[in-house]
């Protein structure tokens, strides 16, 4: 870090209010060239809002932005691009109809007059270069981005951000869907950029990562600046304490608190689907937490979809010993299943609807009588889960689309919990959720398990699986290649299985 240099960006007393919320309340921040500056804070602390202001997506109500010593106004993203500010958005900003190569080159056409021909060969060359830098050389450049997995899309978005001459690179939870390996690639690239004098603002909820990557760390809480500290002097516990403003007991389940019962709640027998899934069999006992690990493309998505009636399958599924045929999600819900989907904006949220409507959407029978909605009941259920999950909102009728990313995720979790399921399937359940909330969610999962709910966590975050699960299944190319009990679950052997070495395979 280089205190002797002039700051690249100085933010002074930035305020930004939304109806009902003061998202930023006088935040100041200084970023130097050649530093990685992490910004952390709970969900809704105002991190994305601050970055959106730098990007020109939002205008501050008051405060000053000083860029290389000059006060600037950034009325449009176009201006931030001119200044050399590049952003990887938390909610990806890609055109789904355009190809990988086209998306990566999208910000290079900004300055063109319009009538010159598009050089798609250049696009491809550049995309290829950027993607191989990120270790994604095998990605088909001609695929429309809308058909990629979330992880692939995230990589494309990062590639797009670093494909221009960038002075300030802002990454808002860039790796929430990435694997460890992909994340390592990303970090290597970031370190190179730092060495080249780029200022990097890095937002993440993964505190270990933050500690190892960044030079300085700024903590925001409730829209206010709390502290900026050098990374050397920080610890995870200290960061959490500053973020949350109190102690968080523990992230992981206490040892030996297994609640596994003998009754089998959910059983899948020889499930196959399309060309990808082959004869998958597993069971989840009441009170058991089972994890499914695997690299992107292993077929975890398809497995989740089959288990919730979103995708046709062959084979059998039993819930509490009863064979069921899941043709549609409503069947699944009726039989006591609940799903927390991974794709928050696409499959999860109904963005124009209110928070309370989103919470009760899967559980309408509980909040209605004879087909008539009971508004008080809707409010009560909404209220209950807003409290229980500590969802930060201005009011129950706030539109879902205006919530911070993490809070949206909690609302979706609330929707699943509100159906009081016997089997809860969570797909990337803590993607983009802050540590405090994560701890709360884990605690809730434990409590549910203790109450006898069978829980299936499908996740690409191995620490999460290892910390939470009684058992972990590992997938590779549509089949299970390993099964780990809680005691012998560790990152390395699981990763080995996930990459196809079925050394640890025990049973099917």
């Amino acid at each position: 870090m280089s205190d002797n240099l002039t700051p690249l960006i100085e933010l002074k007393q930035i305020k930004k209010g939304f109806p009902g919320v003061q998202a930023l309340d006088g935040v100041s921040l200084t970023v130097y060239p050649g530093e990685i500056h992490a910004i952390i804070g709970e969900n809704g602390a105002g991190k994305s809002t601050l970055m959106n202001i730098l990007a020109g997506e939002l205008q501050p109500d008051s405060g000053e932005i000083i860029f290389q010593g000059r006060p600037v106004r950034i009325p449009h993203p176009n201006v931030s691009q001119q200044l050399g500010i590049s952003v990887v958005y938390q909610e990806l900003a890609l055109a789904p109809n355009l190809t990988v190569a086209e998306n990566i080159s999208l910000n290079t056409v900004r300055t063109s007059f319009g009538l010159e021909f598009v050089n798609r060969r250049d696009f491809a060359v550049k995309a290829k270069a950027v993607l191989s830098q990120l270790g994604m050389a095998s990605l088909d450049l001609r695929q429309p981005v809308g058909r990629l997995t979330v992880a692939q899309q995230q990589m494309v978005e990062i590639g797009k951000a670093i494909s221009t001459d960038v002075k300030v690179l802002i990454l808002d939870e860039p790796n929430s869907a990435l694997t460890k390996e992909e994340t390592d690639h990303l970090f290597a690239v970031l370190r190179d950029l730092r060495a080249a004098g780029v200022a990097i603002i890095y937002i993440s909820h993964r505190l270990e990562e933050v500690l190892s990557l960044s030079d300085r760390i700024t903590v925001l809480r409730d829209g206010q600046w709390v502290e900026t500290m050098p990374a050397e002097s920080a610890t995870v516990d200290r960061l959490i304490a500053r973020m949350v403003g109190r102690e968080v007991d523990t992230l992981f389940r206490p040892q030996g608190a297994s609640t596994v019962q003998t009754q089998i709640s959910f059983e899948v027998k020889e499930l196959s689907s399309t060309a990808l899934l082959r004869d998958l069999s597993f069971m989840v006992h009441a009170g058991e937490v089972v994890g499914v690990a695997g690299l992107p493309g292993a077929g975890k998505d398809e497995l989740v979809e089959c288990c919730f009636g979103l995708r046709p399958y062959t084979g059998a599924i039993e819930v509490k010993g009863q064979p069921v045929r899941l043709t549609e999600p409503d069947q699944a819900i009726k039989h006591g299943l609940a799903l927390i989907p991974a794709d928050r904006r696409g499959t999860g949220a109904m963005l124009v609807l209110s928070v309370q409507d989103n919470i009760v959407a899967a559980n309408l029978s509980q909040v209605s009588r004879a087909g008539l909605l009971q508004r008080p009941a809707i409010r009560a259920v909404g209220q209950q889960y807003v409290q229980q999950l500590d969802i930060r909102i201005a009011g129950l009728t706030q539109a879902m689309g205006t919530l911070s990313g993490g809070n949206q995720q909690k609302v979706i979790l609330a929707r699943g919990l509100a159906t009081q399921p016997a089997v809860l399937i969570l797909h990337e359940p803590t993607r983009g959720i802050d540590v405090g909330a994560k701890a709360e969610i884990y605690a809730i999962l434990q409590q549910l398990a203790a109450e006898g709910v069978a829980i299936l966590i499908v996740s690409s975050e191995l620490p999460e699986l290892i910390g939470q699960c009684d058992r972990i299944l590992v997938m590779y190319q549509g089949a299970f290649t390993g099964e780990f009990d809680r005691d012998d679950a560790a990152e390395e052997p699981i990763l080995a299985c996930a990459m196809g070495q079925s050394t640890h395979l025990e049973t099917t």
């Binding site: 009902g20 999600p329 819900i333 499959t347 109904m350 609807l353 409507d357 500590d390 909102i393």
Partner: protein
């Protein structure tokens, strides 16, 4: 571990907040309507007479009935361009049945059933058939219009005794379209009020209504929430078809003569316009019955006022377009002021 509720500091009594927010949805349109009404009552004294207001009420009734249906369709993120043709088809068939001597109830039932069925086909093609509803209903617009022409052989259908209708049935039928309750309130208006109330209850009070919003908000999210997205959308089209048919029947009961090439031509754009002016959006998930009623009234009051003021027909045409843009503009403006 679980904190107390952390409602944001700026809000205090939640129930009030909710009320305000709820109101706000329609405020913009309401403001536009009130401004217009004040202007008109100053500009022309005839505007505020009871009789004139009832006239306006009657004149907007059929548009209003169909716009209630369109509210459902638009909220569910679909669109229906065939409503004008369904209106013609059902009205004419019902009229023909009455002329052929059918009883009132069977004739009405057959008519409404046909409307609902055409709606069902629209819905089925737009969901299970995985075609965009713009195309299915544009196609249906021609198909239903053609069917009406074929059935009537292109000849005008006149529902009166001379053509063979039973006098008693006929007088009942006429009453539906032309009658006035207490010699004052036009039956058409009464139908509109009933449809609006039922439509409002169904949309904002029932589980079905909730599902319509959910489906329009995000069909994937709705599906994962266990909602049968396709079926809900199909129901929206069925309601639309049914209400278009009802409006068509009331139309021919009012003006006992219709013609397949002409009845209801171009109605679809009026209906969609009124609904959008009322706050619904082609992007789905948004809209209310109250808003739609206000939208319908804006268009009705505007037409009425321009005529009362003696504005020439060509200027009327120009001004109607301008006011539609203006009304939605006012709505957007008040919404953004309220941070919606």
């Amino acid at each position: 571990m679980v904190k107390d509720v952390q409602m944001t500091p700026t809000t205090s009594p939640i129930s009030e907040k909710i009320k305000n927010l709820f109101l706000a949805r329609e405020t913009g349109v309401l403001v536009a309507l009130i401004v217009m009404a004040i202007f008109l009552s100053l500009a022309t004294p005839a505007f505020l007479s009871v009789r004139n207001l009832l006239n306006v009420g009657r004149q907007v009734s059929l548009l209003g009935i169909m716009s209630v249906g369109m509210t459902y369709v638009l909220i569910s993120r679909e669109v229906d361009l065939s409503v004008g043709s369904i209106y013609a088809l059902v009205g004419l068939i019902t009229g023909m049945l009455i002329v052929m001597g059918w009883g009132l109830v069977p004739a009405l039932l057959i008519g409404l059933l046909i409307g609902a069925m055409v709606g069902f086909i629209n819905g089925w093609l737009s969901t299970y058939g995985s075609l965009p509803s713009f195309i299915t209903t544009l196609g249906m617009m021609s198909v239903a219009r053609g069917a009406a022409l074929l059935i009537t052989n292109g000849e005008p259908v006149t529902v009166n005794e001379i053509q063979g209708a039973d006098p008693q049935t006929l007088s009942q039928f006429y009453y539906l379209g032309q009658g006035r309750v207490f010699d004052l309130i036009p039956m058409q208006l009464l139908f509109f009020v009933i449809v609006a109330i039922l439509g409002w209850i169904l949309l904002s009070k029932t589980v079905f209504g909730f599902k319509i919003y959910a489906v329009g908000g995000s069909d994937k999210a709705a599906r994962v929430s266990g909602i049968k997205v396709y079926n809900i959308k199909i129901w929206a089209f069925v309601i639309m078809g049914f209400l278009s048919g009802l409006a068509g029947i009331l139309s021919i009961a009012f003006l006992p003569s219709g013609q397949a090439g002409r009845t209801g031509v171009g109605l679809e754009l009026d209906v969609i316009a009124a609904t959008i002016v009322g706050g619904a959006s082609l992007a789905g998930g948004e809209g209310t019955i109250l808003g739609t009623i206000l939208g319908v009234l804006i268009i009705g009051v505007l037409r009425n006022g321009l005529i009362l003021m003696g504005i020439s027909a060509f200027w009327q045409e120009t001004m109607i377009g301008a006011v539609i843009i203006l009304a939605v503009g006012v709505d957007k403006w008040t919404r953004s002021r309220r941070g919606l």
